[in-house]
Symmetry: C2
Subunit: 413 residues, 2 copies
């Protein structure tokens, strides 16, 4: 049986109806009812086809083809959670592609009567996005031991709900054992413009950028916007706004796009129209292919924060948070993808990922492969995120080739 692109596309486009937004995106933040809904769909899809689905104690889901009990698994997959008002491709594409690759390879194995050296499983990692619960890439980081599970279960969202409670609420705080993993492969949209610009259908990720966040608290004093003289104020929001601008402008110290920076999240207290804010909490995100650039930008910012604090009579407390050094994907995996695609006459290029991915976490533990397909206009984390069906199918085929090679022991050579 050949891999059916039509069935894959039908299932993939179905996932976009779960948590669909008005403008063609999705909203399925981790641990919400909509995340629960797509998880139930994933579980039912697997059990209906005879693949048992395990759920571990951080909400990761594993759909398994256990041809030879006791043998480790090649895992393929991504994540089904999303940002708020997100695109429908990020994560869901890689999971649905993996589901169809599992079904295809399982058919081949059953038809041939020959069991490969490794089992195969599809994974839906919990909370890759980190929108509701920080940090991102949560489930896969716990899986490989980069994050402590007990601490992670007690992380709270802004309304005080803990990770463990949210998983329990949607019925996905599992107790199943984690499968033993031999190798990992993931296909994802690029979320950048390189493949589109160069007309190359598939990218193989050789390493991730160095990234780090700064968790910044600005403490001023609450006062009346009407009654308080300007000189008497200790306005946390004015100071925090200058920090947002500093974080943006520090990229100008380096070559274009050598450093990416942003403030995506900010909480203001008490956030009342007629009260001068007393506290602002914000997270700055710094990313570069060069650790040296990150360190320079960080030092520049911290020095500026000190001067700002003195000028505005506020306290600025900044701490390093979610520091992610470069992660290198193994050369053998890159060469495997290149060879398999060359055999099919398909152009590939090596590419770096600026964004974090579950595959980056997995690469710290097992041989891992991350492949990208083109993103139209490079946009992501927004409703107009788009990838054409033909590019989705190219990635699906590539994942099938890679998974087939891996269950047959390619990562051992």
């Amino acid at each position: 049986m050949l891999l059916s692109a039509e069935d894959f596309l039908k299932d993939f486009h179905h996932t976009a109806t779960i948590g669909a937004t008005a403008d063609g995106g999705v909203d399925r933040q981790a641990g919400t009812a909509k995340d629960g809904e797509i998880r139930a769909w994933f579980r039912d899809w697997g059990t209906e086809r005879g693949y048992p689905v395990r759920v571990d104690s951080i909400g990761n889901m594993f759909m398994l083809a256990d041809w030879t009990p006791g043998v480790p698994f090649v895992l393929i997959g991504s994540h089904l959670d999303s940002q708020p008002l997100a695109g429908r491709f990020d994560g869901a594409y890689g999971v649905v592609a993996a589901m169809h690759v599992l079904q295809e390879i399982d058919s081949e194995v059953r038809a041939s009567g020959h069991k490969p050296p490794f089992n195969l499983g599809v994974v839906n990692w919990f909370n890759e996005e980190g929108a509701r619960f920080a940090p991102s890439i949560m489930g896969s980081s716990v899986f490989v031991g980069l994050l402590d599970e007990q601490n992670t279960l007690t992380v709270s969202d802004p309304s005080g709900t803990k990770v463990g409670e949210a998983l329990e609420d949607i019925g996905f705080l599992g107790t199943d054992p984690r499968p033993e993993v031999a190798a990992y492969a993931e296909v994802h949209i690029e979320q950048g413009r390189i493949l589109e610009r160069e007309g190359i259908p598939l990218g193989t990720v050789d390493r991730s950028w160095y990234t780090q966040k700064l968790d910044i608290e600005v403490l001023g004093e609450q006062s009346h916007t009407g009654a308080t003289s300007m000189a008497d104020r200790r306005d946390a929001l004015v100071a925090a706004s200058k920090i947002v601008v500093m974080v943006n402008e520090v990229t100008g110290d380096f070559e274009e796009d050598a450093l990416l920076s942003s403030v995506g999240q900010m909480h203001i207290e008490p956030n009342s129209p007629i009260v001068v804010p007393r506290r602002v909490h914000l997270i700055a995100d710094l990313r570069s292919d060069s650790e040296e650039i990150i360190q320079k930008a960080r030092a520049t910012l911290l020095a500026k924060f000190d001067a700002l604090a003195a000028d505005h009579r506020v306290d600025v407390n900044a701490r390093d948070f979610d520091v992610r050094p470069h992660r290198h994907f193994p050369e053998s995996g890159l060469e495997l993808v290149e060879k398999l695609m060359a055999d099919k006459g398909l152009a590939t290029r090596r590419i770096r990922t600026r964004a974090g991915h579950d595959a980056v976490a997995l690469s710290t533990k097992v041989p891992s492969i991350l492949m990208f397909v083109p993103s139209v206009d490079g946009v992501s984390h927004c409703e107009r995120e788009f990838t054409e069906d033909k590019d989705l199918v190219t990635g699906l085929d590539a994942l099938a080739e890679v998974a087939r090679a891996l269950v047959n022991g390619a990562s051992e050579q």
Copy 2:
């Protein structure tokens, strides 16, 4: 019977236990459970002493001494709601003082057997603070017809709860008729430093500042903080942060404190650490004793917003909101306070209010008097807001003198 300062202080300090915060303040935002709790206390206090309490259809509460049925009321009072993490004096002081003045004058009337030409009532205005539901000074503005009641009942808080629903939830969406009003008097903390600096125990407010807000929406495009090149971004938060700084710095175009400006409230969407924000909504607050200064500052800001929008490829939509022209308190009321206090040997000074007050709304309909007592360090809308007991008692006595004169027809002369 003499006005008992001790009983008044006991009741006043009791109100600070309802919604008490860890650092000595209170949190009783309008329509919340804690607002319901203090309202129940207010109602019980009145009914236990034989004063019926009416609740109108916007949640204003009236505790009435109806000596001569059918005769209009002199109303005295303020508001029991608070900002988040607020001080315990703002509003509650004026209500509790009015309750004790009512009790005192009622005793005098009953003892003398002589009914004055007007009845007397204490009012607790709904939602003076406007922290949860904008705009502020809500209940008194509906009462005098500055705000439409039906529209106001459908105003929502950030979680989507409407004013009418919140009042219903706490059991204070009333149906009682509003009392007819002949005059209004209120005592309040200054929330500024003038009385403290000059060592004067009582201020009489001659007019309010000209104030206006700008409701500002910044629309950019949501994208991935990691993957999106700096040049491709349309970051709503960077642009909004520059607006916060512009609103702050425009005060520098004028003499010190001729213009007060602030941004107290800002909502960011989607507010996720790894998403470039697509929309920011903020409210700028401009106040001056000079309308011309407000108009100049407003024009400067709107021109800067246009340039900013072009520079950052975002839309900036700013609209005028909650514009409050100067309100003048009548000369006769000012002279009444000055004469009564001079008779007691107490110094007073005329003062302007930068902050809005229920008395400012009432002054558009009936002869109104607003008096201030000193605020330590001028701080307000924060937990360290403070006024000494002796100053509270001076204001209590002044309110008693004024109310006694008003029920005897002083505002008619």
